[in-house]
C-alpha cells in the first residue's frame, strides 16, 4: 500500500465530514428522520402520508448546495470518469441493492454507525469490502 500524500486532504475531509454529521443531526433532531439518501429516494416511490414533502425538500437542498457554492466561489472538482454504460449499470446496481440492504453510505455508514447499530456495522463492512474488491478487480486485474 502506498499512501498518496499529495492527494490526501485530511482537514477538508474531516471538516466536510462534520458538516455531513451536522446535517444528519439536524434532520433527526428537528424532523425525527434518518438522513439516508437511498431511503429518502426510495421512500418517494412508496409514498405515505406526510412522507413526501420533507424528502423533496432535503433533496432540493442537496442540489442547491453546488448551485449556491458556484455563485460565490469556484466549485471543487467533480471528476466522473465512468462511461455512460458503466454509469447506467452502476446506477441500477446501487438502486436495487441499497433498497435490499436497507441503506447506503449515509444511512448505514454515517447515521447507523453513529447509532452504534450492529446491522449498519455489518452493512458498512460489507459495502466497503466489495467496493475495495471491485476497484481492485477493475484497476489491477482487468487493467481498466
Amino acid at each position: 500500500m502506498t499512501i498518496d500524500f499529495a492527494a490526501f486532504t485530511p482537514a477538508s475531509a474531516f471538516g466536510g465530514g462534520m458538516l455531513i454529521g451536522l446535517a444528519a443531526a439536524l434532520l433527526i433532531l428537528l424532523n425525527g428522520r434518518i438522513a439516508g439518501i437511498s431511503g429518502i429516494l426510495g421512500g418517494l416511490l412508496r409514498p405515505g402520508p406526510g412522507e413526501t414533502g420533507w424528502r423533496i425538500a432535503f433533496l432540493v437542498g442537496m442540489v442547491m448546495a453546488p448551485i449556491g457554492w458556484a455563485l460565490v466561489a469556484t466549485l471543487p472538482a467533480i471528476d466522473i470518469d465512468a462511461s455512460y454504460p458503466v454509469l447506467i449499470a452502476a446506477g441500477l446496481i446501487v438502486g436495487i441493492s441499497t433498497r435490499y440492504g436497507g441503506g447506503c453510505t449515509s444511512g448505514h455508514g454515517v447515521c447507523g454507525l453513529s447509532r452504534l447499530s450492529p446491522r449498519s456495522l455489518v452493512a458498512t463492512l460489507a459495502f466497503m469490502a466489495s467496493g475495495f474488491a471491485t476497484v481492485f478487480l477493475i484497476r489491477h486485474v482487468l487493467g481498466g
Binding site: G15, M18, G32, R115, G131
Partner: protein, 139 residues
C-alpha cells in the same frame, strides 16, 4: 413553507455542502480511496470520522426523546437482526459504488453542479429502486 420543510431543506443544503467540502462528492477521489493497491488517498476515512463524531452526539440525544424539537415522532430503526438481504444488498451496493465512484448522496448533489453523468446515474438508480418496489409488491 412549513418549519419541517424548511429544516429538511437546510439539512439537505448542509449535507450537500459537506459533500463538496469533504471531497466525497468527487467520484475520482472516492475511487482513489477504494483503490487500496494503487496510490491510496485515505481522506474519505476522515470524512466518515468527522461525520460520526457529530452523529454520535446527535443520535445519543435523539435516542432519549420520543418527539423531535419540531414535535415530529422520532423514527429510529429498531431491527437488530443480521439477515441475508442486509448482507447481500450491501455487498451489491459496494460493487455499484466501486464501478463508478458514486453513491446516492454525491450523485444527487452533482446534479446541481450540472453534471449530465450524475443525472444518468440517478435516473438509473431510481429505475433500480423501482425494480425493487415491483419485486417487493409481487412477493
Amino acid at each position: 413553507m412549513s418549519r419541517l420543510t424548511l429544516s429538511a431543506l437546510v439539512s439537505g443544503l448542509i449535507f450537500g455542502l459537506g459533500l463538496l467540502v469533504s471531497g466525497l462528492g468527487n467520484p475520482a477521489k472516492v475511487l482513489a480511496f477504494l483503490d487500496l493497491a494503487g496510490a491510496w488517498d485515505p481522506s474519505l476515512a476522515l470524512v466518515m470520522g468527522g461525520a460520526i463524531l457529530v452523529g454520535l452526539i446527535a443520535f445519543q440525544l435523539a435516542a432519549r426523546r420520543q418527539r423531535s424539537v419540531l414535535d415530529e415522532p422520532i423514527r429510529l430503526p429498531t431491527r437488530r437482526d443480521i439477515d441475508r438481504r442486509l448482507v447481500l444488498g450491501s455487498l451489491g451496493f459496494g460493487v455499484g459504488w466501486g464501478l463508478a465512484g458514486f453513491c446516492p448522496g454525491p450523485a444527487v448533489m452533482a446534479i446541481g453542479a450540472g453534471e449530465a453523468r450524475a443525472v444518468v446515474f440517478v435516473l438509473a438508480m431510481l429505475a433500480g429502486m423501482g425494480v425493487f418496489e415491483l419485486i417487493e409488491r409481487q412477493r
